[in-house]
């Protein structure tokens, strides 16, 4: 089923946000919509979005590649994205990531054998006062986990399984 068939109402609502002569603005919300399917944006979805917006597939792929929250490959169902930027690192984020990595048995950038979790090291997510922090990105969107311990993190991730 195409996106237009499956999400016709949502797509209409997205287009209504922008002047009709500038429908290219709808690309980012449409990509989020496409990502809802399997947690990544398939080639087929890119082609469909290009058609909807009357731009080339290359232009769509360029946008997908530019932004870190869009993915063009299937990874774990849940992307566990730990912030290790300076403010978080000053409050133990590097050690947190290391210990979480050991507990999950995967290195940053890797996905576990069951395809549940992909561990990622990410840039600042705007929660510096509540470090250590991570966010979980899945097909449903992004959820924050703040003021974390490794035990607390494992507990929270368990609930996702």
């Amino acid at each position: 089923m195409t996106l237009a068939e499956k999400y016709s109402q949502e797509i209409q609502a997205i287009f209504a946000k922008y002047p009709p002569e500038h429908k290219r603005s709808a690309i980012m919300p449409l990509l989020y919509l496409a990502q809802r399917e399997e947690g990544y944006i398939s080639r087929q979805a890119m082609e469909e979005i290009a058609e909807l917006l009357e731009i080339s597939v290359t232009e769509v792929a360029g946008v997908v590649g530019f932004y870190t929250l869009y993915h063009d490959r299937k990874e774990g169902k849940y992307r566990v994205q730990v912030c290790t930027d300076l403010p978080c690192a000053l409050r133990g984020a590097d050690e947190f990531l290391k210990e979480l990595s050991q507990a999950l048995g995967i290195q940053p950038g890797e996905t576990d054998a069951e395809g549940r979790f992909t561990l990622e090291e990410v840039m600042c997510i705007g929660a510096c006062h509540r470090a250590p922090v991570f966010q979980v990105q899945s097909a449903e969107g992004v959820t924050y986990y703040e003021n974390m311990t490794v035990e607390g993190a494992l507990e929270a991730l368990k609930k996702l399984e």
């Binding site: 290219r24 300076l86 403010p87 840039m123 929660a127 510096c128």
Partner: protein, 411 residues
């Protein structure tokens, strides 16, 4: 008068509900502007208040509004809610806790510049806030605070949220506009500036969330009232995002003129384990590193006062560093960030951040050879003044100041 002007939800937890916000005077300023003032009068009040942009540049807000090209229509207002500077988490609290005051600020700004359409560009990670604001906007529409013919006048306004997807560069206003137009978020050559060539090539005002949240109070209480707080250089209040090696990190809303000593020791509870303070980054990862001596700690803070120290207040994202931390590690962190976030459009930034990353990794792995440190400093200095936007410049700030001012950590 309550303690807070912006973080009012800390005293009135229910202020995120429309009826509660209105019970506390909410939307009276918007009504007053639309029914009793001309757009120019609104702009004049904001100009007279001395309000300056809270996103980091500190540009006078009313002056920016007055630059809108009146021969080219339609006009747009875009709220910059991209908040991606490491160490910054203030706009998030305003939008989560006191959303209507921010949205009223967007509405008044739109009226002042004659915009009938406003966009709120949020960083992609703030999906929950975008959904939250969508609900609030729908409530405003239902209450007749947004839509056609507002308050019986012929002014109409619609507001929309737009989610980014993880790109620091989109906090730069022209990159943000490119992104909102559906392209990769790469900065435009300026001039022309957004008030003459902005969204879809039309005159556009781009203001930070915190800036806009000040506007309803200024319109309601007047410029003189606002100027009674803060300093002559920077009237009013500022939200300081305090992070790093302090006991109580968090947002602190304080008048300009407060000192680092008050912020860090009084409000932030002092340094973790009561260690000595070593350095301060007042503007997040984009900061110069300032040596935290008594003179710095006791300087009243506004946009001008940190210049003699070779620093900027920026968005007041104060990262505190104590004596357990080595500055070569700090700049490895900031360089890694800027290398990742460089958009790749201009060569000095794309290549410069790449080489700085390699050099600092080499220095941190193989030992602090003087030649390598000098080479890193040379690369950073070569970049300065040559980049298309501020990101490239920002990436060099901690590097140059760190090596120059904390040389002992590079030997």
């Amino acid at each position: 008068m309550t303690q807070y002007l912006l973080l009012r939800h800390r005293e009135i937890p229910e202020i995120s509900r429309l009826e509660v916000y209105r019970q506390h005077g909410g939307f009276e300023a918007f009504r007053k502007a639309v029914t009793g003032m001309t757009p120019d009068q609104v702009t004049e009040v904001v100009k007279a208040s001395g309000l300056r942009g809270r996103g980091g540049a500190g540009f006078p807000t009313g002056l920016k509004w007055s630059f809108m090209d009146r021969k080219n229509w339609p006009h747009y207002v875009v709220a910059n809610a991209d908040e991606s500077e490491p160490g910054t988490f203030k706009d998030r609290e305003i939008m989560e806790g006191n959303p209507f005051q921010f949205l009223e600020g967007v509405a008044i700004a739109s009226y002042a510049v004659g915009a009938n359409r406003a966009y709120i560009y949020l960083r992609g990670e703030y999906q929950h806030i975008a959904r939250w604001l969508d609900e609030k906007i729908a409530e405003m529409e239902a209450a007749g605070l947004l839509g056609e013919r507002l308050f019986g006048t012929d002014y109409s306004l619609r507001m929309y949220t737009h989610l980014g997807a993880g790109a620091y560069i989109c906090g730069e206003e022209t990159a943000l506009l490119e992104s909102l137009e559906g392209k990769r978020g790469q900065p435009r050559v300026r001039p022309p500036f957004p008030p003459s060539f902005g969204l879809y090539g039309k005159p556009t005002v781009v203001n930070n969330v915190e800036t806009l949240a000040n506007v309803p109070l200024i319109v309601q209480n007047g410029a003189e009232w606002y100027r009674s707080m803060g300093t002559a250089d920077a009237p009013g209040v500022k939200i300081f995002s305090l992070s790093g090696r302090v006991k109580r990190p968090g947002n602190y809303e304080l008048p300009f003129g407060v000192t680092f000593r008050q912020l860090i020791y009084e409000y932030g509870g002092g340094i973790l384990d009561d260690r000595p303070i070593k350095a301060i980054m007042p503007a997040g990862a984009s900061s110069s590193l300032l040596r935290a001596d008594d003179r710095l700690l006791d300087t009243p803070l506004d946009y001008a006062s940190l210049r003699p120290f070779g620093g900027d207040l920026g968005s007041a994202s104060v990262i505190v560093i104590d004596d357990t931390v080595s500055i070569d590690w700090v700049i490895q962190k900031t360089i890694r960030f800027f290398k990742h976030e460089s958009c790749g459009k201009c060569t000095p930034c794309r290549e410069g951040t790449y080489w700085m990353k390699h050099l600092i990794d080499r220095i941190r792995t193989n030992g602090k050879e003087e030649k390598q440190v000098q080479l890193l400093l040379d690369v950073a200095r070569q970049m300065q003044g040559k980049c298309l936007c501020a990101l490239g410049e920002f990436s060099t700030m901690a590097v140059v100041s760190g090596i120059e001012r904390f040389g002992e950590d590079f030997r």
